[in-house]
């Protein structure tokens, strides 16, 4: 409502910022939890959005906890660092003992351990011979730097030092990188002051930790004892610190989920409040909303309750105002219809109050899919998969999976269920179960009769690799198979000849019926928007055009099926050539007519269809123009805008806060606008006519994709059977049974991957295209926008 006010000047910006700060604190707390390896549970119940003082309390508590956590973590880190240093020192002293102790040490055996690289160079006996004072530098160095360190020491202080290196018995953490490494302890004995300084500088360069190494045995032992007690104390303190940290983390785990939800709700509410504008007196907020008429009483109730709960003295109220904006579209769905509505909405949301194709799409979409997918076995697999999803739809593991592709399949589970069910039905009609035909009823074609009639002896059969059954012979063909396609066709080598003809005609018939149904749905629109003139001037010519040309084609198809049989198969006319000749007003001598008087009937139909085109083109614009010219006696426009009745008695209808005076008062059109309108209407109608007439032809051909995809599916499944599965049945021994297992595995994987997933997606896409383009462009406008009511979105985070 306040588009002119910038985002930073809005009233509740401060509160929104506060919420964001709290969210930052929460993120920090969560990171700490994750670092400690704890998981955050989901929010147990649904907390309400907090009031202002509660929010303040939450903020204080969360900041206090964050502060405590930071301090304790810091303490712990420093304690651990100290402990590590002490332990390193202890090790240095202990290992150094071995190099500088007398032949009878205090516990460690004189034999060198396998760890040390070097023999103790400094022989204890030498100790007494040297007059000069020997100094020591002891420390710890990273194992990768040992050789470089040694080399540099040797080059720098040649001969005046003795260096020994040994690995530390236990690995310790590197403070910089955090990984555990086995450090190397070194002990350098030197004499001379300068050498000592050089050594210390070199050790600094190599980032070694240098520890003071006491000279005498006794002081070393003292230091070691001191270190031991220090380490023990420190470990105790560290343990206590860790316990305290665990307690703080426990508190966080308890409180954090609720706080997060509360703050999220608060933020959402403030964002919406920011969109309202203030009254002139700066005392109340005004918001303009779209609300369904049916829910008005609920809204009033909610406002009353809200005022009561927040304890304010003035009540909130609702008032209807007129507007010239077009309202949003709201279509209420349940969990079953939501999937179908979403595929319709994906193309375009229905304009306000126009007819919704979704209830019909619930059945026609899976049906058209099934025509392209028809196979009992594959349909059954799809149906069972969807059934499992539907039966387990309430399990949380299915609902909250993070995989997006799985979520898409799960949202469409009812769609897949119906697609599978219809595929089973069309699979029975096509008589295909994993590409094999089932003989539910005995086949109508009798091979025995044909063999007896034509005396096909075994010798004759041996010389002729393929023979055709002739339906002209009595008894060979006994009648149509009662349910679906005869199973003999799946054994025939010329089965595609028959199936192609059948499927092509089926696609054309179903396409024309689908499109005719689309045109019929337009009637609902015309009646609802009270544009009855469009019934006569648009619907009638459209129907005449469609039925005169393509309805007649359907009639020809059925007529030829019923009237022409094998007896006159040699002279059977071609429907396609008749259809083309109909348009060109010619005739072909070789193509016999289907019935007597065909040519005049066809001429009449073509003339009728051509006559309906100018009616469609000029009818509506001329009618609208004549009506505008007629004296206006309180004629209301065809589309009803918002109601003007006040919601509560005794209140006048107000106006929108943003509407200006001119908007409210401009009612009819000025004469110039009228002229412009006519050109626009005429242009619109011309486009519609061309689109419709040309579209009829091209869309009918487009429905042939039903044939194409079902042929592809049938051929693919046949290939999979003959080239994969059948090889498992070649050997009829026990070895063959073993071979069958991997062959079946390959067959199953390929069936699921190619036939179910790939073909399924392909057929889905084509069915969608047929609905969106060929069906919906006969009546659907789809220029609306959805009603997006305010709702607390569920936490999509961790």
């Amino acid at each position: 409502l306040n588009p002119k006010v910038s985002a930073f000047q809005r009233r509740f910006v401060g509160e929104v910022r506060r919420c964001e700060e709290m969210e930052k604190t929460f993120t920090f707390l969560q990171q700490e939890l994750r670092g400690a390896g704890r998981a955050l549970g989901p929010c147990p119940e649904e907390p309400r959005a907090p009031l202002a003082r509660e929010a303040l309390r939450v903020q204080e508590q969360s900041e206090q906890l964050a502060q405590e956590l930071r301090e304790v973590s810091r303490n712990r880190a420093s304690l651990r660092g100290r402990l590590r240093e002490l332990r390193q020192y202890l090790h240095v002293l202990r290992e150094g003992q071995r190099f500088t102790s007398l032949p009878a040490p205090l516990g460690s055996p004189p034999r060198a351990r396998a760890l040390s690289d070097r023999e103790p160079i400094l022989d204890p006996s030498l100790h007494q011979h040297l007059d000069r004072k020997i100094n020591f530098v002891a420390g710890v160095i990273h194992p990768w730097r040992v050789s470089a360190f040694e080399r540099l020491l040797w080059r720098a202080c040649r001969g005046y030092l003795v260096a020994s290196f040994v690995e530390m018995p236990e690995p310790m953490e590197d403070p910089a990188t955090g990984e555990t490494i086995t450090w190397v302890i070194f002990l350098i004995s030197y004499w001379g002051e300068q050498i000592g300084q050089k050594i210390r500088k070199i050790s600094d360069c190599f980032h070694c930790h240098v520890y003071p190494y006491p000279e005498s045995e006794a002081s070393r032992a003292d230091t070691m004892n001191g270190l031991h007690s220090q380490i023990q104390d420190l470990s105790v303190v560290l343990e206590e610190t860790e316990q305290y940290l665990a307690q703080v983390l426990d508190k966080v785990v308890l409180a954090l989920p609720t706080w997060r939800v509360q703050v999220q709700k608060m933020k959402a509410i403030y964002l919406v409040l920011n969109q309202c504008s203030f009254d002139v007196t700066e005392k109340c907020l005004i918001a303009e909303v779209w609300c369904p008429v049916r829910d008005l009483t609920q809204v009033q109730e909610a406002l009353r309750q809200g005022s009561y709960k927040s304890g304010s003295s003035v009540e909130c109220f609702v008032q209807r105002i007129p507007t010239s904006e077009s309202p949003p579209t709201l279509i209420r769905t349940n969990k079953f219809t939501a999937g179908f509505q979403s595929i319709v909405d994906a193309y375009g949301v229905a304009s306000y109050q126009e007819v919704n194709p979704a209830p019909y799409a619930i059945i026609t979409f899976p049906f058209i899919f099934a025509i392209m997918f028809g196979d009992v076995g594959h349909g059954l697999l799809m149906f069972l998969f969807a059934l499992w999803m539907v039966l387990c739809e309430n399990s949380p593991s299915l609902r909250q999976a993070s995989n997006e592709i799985w979520q898409t399949f799960f949202e469409g589970r009812y769609l897949i269920l119906l697609m599978g069910a219809f595929s089973i039905y069309t699979g029975f009609i096509y008589n295909e179960c994993f590409s094999k035909a089932t003989v539910i009823f005995p086949s109508a074609w009798s091979v025995a009769t044909m063999a007896n009639h034509s005396s096909w002896s075994s010798a004759y059969l041996a010389t002729h690799p393929s023979l055709t059954l002739d339906p002209n012979v009595t008894g060979v063909f006994r009648g149509p198979y009662p349910f679906g396609i005869d199973p003999i066709w799946s054994l025939a080598t010329n089965h595609l000849n028959f199936l192609n003809s059948f499927k092509m005609k089926m696609s054309v018939v179903l396409g024309i019926v689908h499109m005719g149904f689309g045109v019929l749905l337009g009637v609902f629109n015309h009646v609802h928007f009270r544009q009855r003139h469009r019934l006569v001037l648009e619907f009638l010519p459209e129907m005449v055009f469609l039925l005169a040309l393509f309805g007649y084609l359907v009639f020809l198809i059925f007529y030829k099926w019923i009237k022409f049989s094998a007896a006159d198969s040699r002279l059977a006319p071609s429907i396609l050539i008749h259809f083309i000749d109909m348009f060109l007003f010619t005739s072909n001598a070789g193509n016999l007519p289907l019935y007597r008087g065909q040519v005049p009937v066809q001429t009449v139909l073509v003339v009728l269809a051509l006559a309906s085109v100018p009616v469609l083109l000029l009818g509506t614009p001329l009618y609208l123009r004549c009506r505008r010219r007629a004296p206006r006696t309180g004629h209301h426009g065809p589309v009803a805008t918002g109601d003007q009745e006040p919601l509560l008695e005794g209140q006048e209808a107000g106006n929108s806060v943003n509407a200006t005076k001119e908007d409210v008062e401009s009612g009819g059109h000025s004469p110039e606008a009228e002229h412009l309108d006519f050109a626009e209407i005429f242009m619109h109608q011309a486009i519609h006519t061309i689109e419709y007439c040309l579209g009829c032809v091209s869309n009918t051909a487009s429905y042939l994709r039903l044939w194409a995809l079902s042929l592809a599916h049938a051929q693919l499944s046949e290939v999979l059977w003959t080239m994969v599965m059948r090889n498992g049945f070649v050997r009829l021994s026990y070895a063959g049974g073993v071979v069958l297992v991997p062959v079946f595995a390959a067959f199953a994987v390929l069936t699921v991957a190619i036939l179910l997933v790939m073909e399924g997606l392909s057929a889905f896409l084509h069915a969608l295209r047929l609905h969106w383009v060929e069906f919906q462009n006969k009546f659907y406008v789809g220029a609306g926008y959805k009603l997006c009511p305010f709702a607390f979105a569920p936490d999509a985070g961790e």
Binding site: T468, D486, F502
Partner: protein
Amino acid sequence: MAYGGLTVPIIVMSVFWGVVGGVLPWLVPKGPNRGVINTMLVTCAVCCYLFWLIAILAQLNPLFGPQLSNETIWYLRYDWP
């Protein structure tokens, strides 16, 4: 089973889908979903009946017969009635 031509199947299927599309809608209990369920029943009946009808009419008067390999003929001659 003796083939009854077109009459038996067409009567059975017409009655079946007629019941589904014409009788069941009256039996659906009143509720918010009644309209959708009725639409579904009628659309389903029309679609499935039309599809079956096309399949059986296409085979009513075949203009040519199936071409079989000699192995198939050897087998079917004695196996199928």
